[in-house]
Symmetry: C2
DNA sequence: ATACCTGCAAAGTCTTTGCCTTAGG
DNA sequence: CCTAAGGCAAAGACTTTGCAGGTAT
């Protein structure tokens, strides 16, 4: 836990971020909580609430995301996504982090068995899952030499 | 495609929704696009933009979600979630749709191979994925008889 | 005929930015 | 010293709601 914190501090330094109090507090909170958190979760956490501004947390998160130290979860646009729920049809998605293009994954989803196990082990009911793959689509990749794009 | 539309119309009727123009247009658009869409995607779609108000789309989506005809994707609170990106550590999550509790899934993630295949088949680079399980946690389930909750 | 639904517009909530000050390296 | 980072406050963006009139059943 504390090891994680130290690791993060090092990576921030390597990334050229200045070691400020707010940064330290933020990393401390995130490494302790170890779960996805919203800006509000973070900013309202006692440690952060009493030590730095919401805007600072916001900008820190932005920098950490740029440096690849933090990841923003979910379909990226800042808006809710909705999809039809059709009986017997389950879709997984492939999303381009750059242009935001979303397409359905053709391959069968390999998660159903795990879903079953989780239901049994945790007592959760009405279980379903969402699986998204993120990456950079061929059109958004920097033009290199002779890469064959097998699909658009 | 049109079959899907008809199916949806039927389900809406069964759910007690009135068959209004905006509803028809919305279902038409969603069944044609067949991908996750934001409220803005929907409301700004030519068909909907010229035929109904944003607020109407919003309320329709709400009703459809209540009826289980549409699903809202992602971690549900209306806010972005952030998580640490630690080398060699991948986390999948189990989220309670009712209380919003988020915990990490213990079991190893079964998706890596598929991820590999997708990278090869689509030409996407820098691929990663997010997998979330949603359901109702034991504490949020209506108290029934003698269910053993094997974990909290 | 009535309850549900729509459109318009305003209010709310969370996010994002400007600007000046502070402080890390 | 110089420039990145912080704090405060205002502006933005998307979502959500109130209300009055329309319409499916």
């Amino acid at each position: 836990m504390d090891q994680v914190y130290e690791h993060l501090i090092v990576r921030c330094k390597e990334s050229g971020l200045r070691r400020t109090k707010p940064l330290e507090f933020l990393l401390q909170v995130m490494s302790q909580e170890n779960r996805p958190m919203t800006l509000a979760d973070l900013a309202e956490h006692p440690v952060l609430a009493s030590n730095c501004d919401k805007a600072t947390v916001f900008r820190l998160i932005g920098r950490l995301t740029d440096k690849g130290i933090v990841r923003r979860l979910g379909l990226h646009e800042r808006a809710a996504y909705f999809t039809l729920l059709l009986p017997g049809r389950h879709q997984d998605f492939l999303i381009c982090s750059s242009c935001g293009d979303i397409k359905a994954v053709k391959a069968p989803c390999p998660v159903h068995q795990l879903e079953q196990e989780i239901a049994e082990q945790t007592g959760y009911s009405g279980l379903y899952h969402e699986l998204e793959f993120f990456g950079t689509c061929p059109s958004c990749q920097p033009p290199s030499d002779t890469r064959h794009s097998l699909s658009a």
